[in-house]
Amino acid sequence: MEFLLSIIESVTMFLLVDLSPYLKVFLITNFLMVMVMVLTLLERRISAWIQDRHGPNRVGPGGILQPIADGIKHFIKEDIIPGHVDRFLYILAPMVAMIPALVTFAVIPFGDQMTIPIYDELVTFKFQIADLNVGILYIVGVASLGVYGLIVGGFASNNKYSMLGGLRSSAQMISYELPMGLAIVAVVLLAGSLRLNDIVVDQSSFLHWNVFRQPLGFILFVVAVFAETNRLPFDLPEAEQELVGGYHTEYSSMKFSAFMIAEYTHMITAAALISTLYLGGWQVPGLASLGLPIVAEQLLQILAFAAKTGFFLLVFIWVRWTLPRFRYDQLMNIGWRKMLPLGLLNIIVTAAFVAFV
Amino acid sequence: MEMSSLLNWVTFLPALGALVLLAIPRTETQLVKSWGLLVSLITFLASIPLFIMFDGNSAAMQFTTQMDWIPAIGASYHVGIDGLSILLYVLTTFIMPLAIFASWNSITERVKEYMIAMLILESAMLGVFISLDLILFYLFWEAMLIPMYLLIGVWGGKRRIYAALKFVVYTMVGSVLMLVAIVFLYILNNTYTGAYSFDLMAIMNLKISFSAQIWLFLAFALAFAIKVPMFPFHTWLPDAHVEAPTAGSVILAGVLLKMGTYGLLRFNLTLFPQAWEYFTPLFLWLGVIGILYGAWVAMVQTDIKKLVAYSSVSHLGFIILGMFAMTVTSMQGGILQMVNHGVSSGALFLAVGMIYERRHTREISEFGGVTRVMPVFSAFFLIICLSSLGLPGTNGFVGEFLILVGSYGNYPVFTIVATVGIIFAAAYLLWMFRRVMFGPLTEKNKSLTDLDGREIAIMIPVILMIFWIGVYPSTFTAKTEKTVEALIEKANKAKAEMVIEGRKPILSDFLGE
Amino acid sequence: MGTLSIPLHYFLILAAVLFGLGVIGVITRRNAIVIFMSIELMLNAVNLTFVAFSNYLNNVEGHIFVFMVMVVAAAEVAVGLAIIVAIFRLRETVHVDDIRLLKW
């Protein structure tokens, strides 16, 4: 038995300690993929609800299995590569679109640090895949890579609409990267460090959440994030009425689904970001007073974080089906003429606040 | 107003006149022209007391002024006049009003710039003759080029650009070498005396080694030979003359050519007497070839101005002969011949200008029997031709005869060959005169009008000068007597030293004396 | 404080190779934009050396200078591409061989 126990012990130890980073990565990625599937379903259900109609309810009880059905459909569909397309780029584009969304999650902390003894050994557990000291900057950097997928996709499919879609999306994403960056700078000013964990720790009490200390920053960040993920008010790149499918007109089956997955993961990451930066991430107000055991506290923190992210996802979907699309010049106008100055103003105010108070 | 300041005034008066000209509006061509004439006349009248007060029997520099110009490098504004330059100085002031008056009707466009160029040119020329500082000399030497270039380049004939460019580049090549020599002298002077100065007087009593003298002599001589122009370097002259406007070629022949010979005397002889002795045979050869070559080529010219240009080459050949014969008589003859050539060939160009203004062609074949319609002109033109070919009683004869008489003593062979030149001088001039003036009156020339008041007013002073020098030359020779004697005596002393040095001049080997 | 097992000159060689490539790109390519890219490549090679030396000398200036280089590169690209676009508008070409006269 002990032999069996020791084997189990060494295996778990090995699993928990040595492989912990890899374990975390595996868990989170899968969690994300599942969330994406749920999100597609949610999207269609809520949009239907908003438009006072039923959503998909045929597959499985209440349509729960709809995403699986879509997944399989995408999977089975014939993978057509149109003749006039630049083959290599055409295939490369969806992959490139996926990468940034997933990679950003590595930095987002969804729980506090926990040290629990396992098998008489103290093991500290960090609920964050990689705690980079450049943290937030890493996010900005990777966010800017998001553009490539769209551009390359748009260009590779060699048709007017996709080309225009690609161009528009690149212009939009670049212009809105700036306000997002400025908002983050303001948050960093307050937190005093680039590490995301420090930012969350900085938002210790309810009143300290950045949403209250940084209302303007919060709004800017949210709008910018909407633009980054090409969500509705800003979804010019694949506006059906004008550009048919935008950058993924020529795409079908798996490559199209890759784009969709990329978009939704991007949405989830964005929501997570908003919650970590402005709503104190895994911070549960008054958690310490409850005196729960560490594991329970951690679970509670993870749940709080999930709740906040979910809330924002709903906001995304909600906004999508209510606000009309911006015209292109309005888009640019807001981005450069309105958001940028506000961002600068916000930094100045926060800097003054930090320096003198 | 003592003399030295008058000298400065006279030299820079034309330049000031040019400045005032700037104020006069371009459209007032009549005012511009009369102002130019007035300034040059005043300059001439002011230069007369200079000529009279010049003391003939002292060889030293007179009316000198010495001021610091660029003390850093030791260049001083050192000017003065002696026997060599007084005649040429007054000649310049004498010719300028005539040149300006002659271009009264022929210059129609850009009159103001023309007058400015002429006046500045006059100042530059006067400056050349009086400057005793090498850099000052070089400055005036170059300053003279630009207005001349403009005169030929802007108001010239058809191939004026080519001619002007050739003229400037030719002279520049020479004068650049001269500048190198000046700088060398400057350093040499510094090594010996320690003082930095370009002053001619200081450099004069430097002991320059013979080999250095050779090279320096050649550098200076090339610049002046091109200017003279001596035989191989003369091809720019006919082009410049043919393309230059009347006034331009009058000045070019009247004064510019004399700068070469004046320079040879002022710099080559005084600074490098040994080298002068060493190169005498070469220059005599070139001079004599110049005489014959000039005469022969002039004989077959079809264009009058080119003919007169080549005649200048021949006359200058005489002057070179006179200078290098190294006797007081021949030297004085040479200097006087410089003035004579200035007057007579200047007058020739004026005359040619007059018929050019009427017929707008210089081809001799186009003319014939002009005397019938222009008797007064033919009389003047005859007198000028006779003075140019050296008829006794006119100025040409006195200069030429003195040169030949003086140089026979030292170099009989060269003199005989040179005397052959006077035959050809008569040949080409009178042959041209016959073809233009005599013979049946051709149809085209019937409509020619005779000289008007202006043109006669230009001719009279020239004719008077021709007869004055012809009949009573001692007014001029007296001025140059002492300076020439001093010059030759100094050169002979230097030659004596050279013999001690053991280097015999190559002439003796050549002639087997 | 361990030492990196890679000696400094590895990085220098790498930078040299990249720089050489950049130069080749500038010389042989006849498309203005690609020339631009090659220049970017050369700049990055230089950045690499900066960072390498900064690490070796344990001095922060290397990094500072990298930023300066980036600033310059960014400015250059902005203006350069603006020029290329302007030329394209006028001459319909980005081909360097056609853009050889200062004034058309």
């Binding site: - | 080529v297 004989m299 077959v300 019938r372 006794p392 030949l404 006077i422 040949a427 016959r434 | 050889r100």
Partner: protein
């Protein structure tokens, strides 16, 4: 003292200036003013003559003309026996010709210009003869040259006239070349050019061994001026000018300048036997040569021109053999009768509407009696018929020539015979025989106006009487038994005489020679009489028999063409070559090629600037590589 002497040359100068400036206004009166000016100077010359007669030589310096270094030439005047004789001839004959020209040039458009040139000529001639140094002689020399140029080319509208003028001037100029070199030699050896100075130091010249060369060169000048053998070509063409000009310049005064020069520098010439011999040879040759050409010439003025050349030849013989006085005497007499002949010819032409060809004349004796008579007197004088002046002067020369060498006398005699013949031919053809004048011209042949005939008469008297003052000693028993003219000039030639041994002609020899010369003259006339009056021998027949000789003679020995082809054309062609080849191609070639080379080099250099930025980049890279390579492989 004797400042009045300056009036003599200055009066004609003044006349020349007045006529020159106001000629076109004066019109008719110009001739009068000119003649008056010459008359005044003639009167003063006579006054000077009386002063010189009683032995005083006038020497007066006005101012120093040229003074440079050791060369000085004063504007000074020396009037001694020789120059006073010349002055008398010049002003006397000059005045007569001026009067004559009034008539002759009547109605000419620019008569003012003509008289101003004539006066200017007289001024130059007077300066020539009155100057006290070689330079003034040279001044006069060239002055008369120019005036002859102007006067020959007076009818400038005629191409041939202006050409002749130029030819005359250039020929003179060639002579002046020799003259100038002569002066240089003299000056460079003895340092002075006044006659007195040269006379004083002539032995220094002898010592320096330059006497012969100086003399010969001076003689070359004389040949140029007096139209002796090599340089005579201009005189026949000089006939293009108006006749009074020919009379004054080409008969009486200018051409004699050469003789005057040799006479004036007798002490120099005598000292070099070679020079004297050369003068004699050239003199005799020219005399004969010109005479032969005169035989066949049919132009009245050209015949007289050749006769002048021939007579000048005689004068040079006289001077060459040492008989300077005889030479000058012949000069004087020749001036009288040759001037008369020319003026006569002028008169004939005037009345025959400028017809000069003697074959179209004849039987004019009756119509223009005075001209004919005076012409005949001059004819007899020139032929050497006693008692006319020509006989005495020519005979004097032949006598002395005989002493020098009988051969010379023989040639001289032949010359005299030919002279007699062609002069008689001329006279017979113009005045006697049947009239070959065209009818319409014949109608209005009229006697010339008195203003022309009076000078003819005066000259006729002079030609007759002129000979008496120089009667040779032998015949001179009436006048104190010696040759007055020779004595008068003896002081001038004293130095020369003292140097060479005196000739003494025995009276017997003299009479013999005289007889011989009379016979020769009569023979010449009789032969002409036979041929042209009696038609015994038909001149044309003779011409055909000796057709070869005749053609050569009539073409003046092809000398003109020879000179043209031999000298003028080669020079012109050589100059053309010089100009086109040497000047433009060689020298200008160098100059322009310098420019072109620079241009070519720059062509190569230009190709480096291709405009491709990449090329510049690659060059830069290569540069960097080289620098690095240097550091590595250093």
């Amino acid at each position: 003292m004797h400042d009045f002497i300056w009036i003599i040359p200055l009066m004609p100068l003044l006349g020349a200036i007045i006529n020159g400036l106001f000629g076109h206004i004066l019109k008719g009166k110009a001739g009068f003013i000119a003649s008056v000016a010459v008359l005044i100077s003639f009167l003063y010359t006579v006054r000077a003559f009386f002063i010189v007669m009683d032995g005083t030589i006038i020497h007066n310096e006005l101012f120093t003309w040229i003074q440079a270094g050791d060369f000085t030439a004063g504007a000074a005047v020396l009037v001694d026996q020789l120059s006073i004789v010349m002055m008398l001839v010049v002003t006397g004959v000059g005045f007569l010709i001026h009067v004559y020209s009034n008539g002759y040039m009547h109605g000419d458009r620019t008569v003012g210009k003509f008289f101003s040139y004539l006066n200017l000529f007289l001024f130059s001639m007077l300066m020539l003869v009155m100057g006290d140094n070689l330079l003034l002689l040279y001044l006069g020399w060239e002055g008369v040259g120019v005036c002859s140029y102007l006067l020959i080319g007076y009818f400038y509208e005629k191409e041939s006239a202006s050409k002749a003028g130029l030819k005359a001037f250039l020929a003179n100029r060639v002579g002046d070349f020799g003259f100038a070199i002569g002066i240089f030699i003299i000056f460079s050896t003895i340092g002075t050019i006044t006659y007195a100075g040269i006379e004083g130091q002539v032995d220094k010249l002898m010592a320096a061994g330059v006497v012969t060369s100086a003399a010969l060169l001076l003689f070359m000048g004389a040949c140029g001026k007096s139209a002796q053998f090599p340089l005579y070509i201009w005189l026949p063409d000089a006939m293009e000018g108006p006749t009074p000009v020919s009379a004054l310049i080409h008969a009486a005064t200018m051409v004699t300048a050469g003789v005057y020069m040799v006479a004036r520098l007798s002490f120099l010439f005598v000292r070099s036997d070679v020079a004297m011999m050369v003068i004699v040879i050239i003199g005799t040759f020219t005399a004969l040569f010109a005479a032969t050409m005169a035989l066949v010439n049919n132009d009245i003025k050209r015949v007289l021109a050749y006769s002048t050349i021939s007579q000048l030849g005689y004068m040079f013989i006289g001077v060459g053999v040492g008989a300077f006085a005889a030479g000058v005497f012949h000069l004087m007499t020749h001036a009288f009768f040759k001037a008369l002949l020319f003026l006569g010819a002028g008169a004939v032409m005037h009345s025959l509407a400028d017809e000069t060809d003697i074959r179209k004349m004849g039987n004019l004796y009756g119509k223009i009696k005075i001209t004919a008579l005076t012409f005949i007197m001059a004819w007899l004088a020139i032929s050497g018929i006693p008692p006319f002046s020509g006989f005495f002067s020519k005979d004097e020369i032949l006598a002395h020539a005989f002493l020098y060498s009988p051969l010379v006398w023989v040639f001289g005699a032949i010359g005299a015979f030919l002279t007699a013949f062609y002069m008689s031919r001329l006279v017979f053809l113009t005045f006697f025989g049947e009239s070959r004048v065209e009818p319409e011209v014949e109608k209005h042949i009229h006697e010339n106006p008195p203003v022309m005939t009076i000078p003819l008469m005066v000259l006729a008297v002079l030609s007759v009487v002129g000979g008496l003052i120089g009667i040779p000693a032998g015949l001179a028993y009436l006048w104190g038994g010696e040759n007055h003219f020779a004595n008068f000039l003896s002081p001038v030639f004293a130095n020369a005489a003292s140097y060479s041994e005196p000739h003494h002609i025995s009276h017997a020899l003299e009479y013999g020679l005289m007889a011989a010369s009379i016979l020769i003259a009569l023979g010449g006339i009789y032969l002409a009489y036979l041929m042209y009056i009696k038609k015994a021998m038909d001149p044309d027949a003779i011409a055909n028999r000796f057709s070869g000789a005749y053609k050569v003679l009539s073409n003046k020995y092809y000398v003109d063409e020879g000179v043209e082809a031999g000298i003028l054309n080669p020079i012109v062609r050589f100059s053309q070559w010089l100009w086109h080849f040497v000047d433009t191609r060689v020298i200008d070639g160098f100059v322009n090629s310098a420019g072109k080379i620079v241009w070519l080099l720059s062509l190569i250099a230009r190709r480096v600037q291709t405009g491709y930025v990449q090329h510049y980049a690659s060059v830069m890279v290569v540069g960097v590589i080289l620098i690095l390579a240097y550091y590595i492989f250093r």
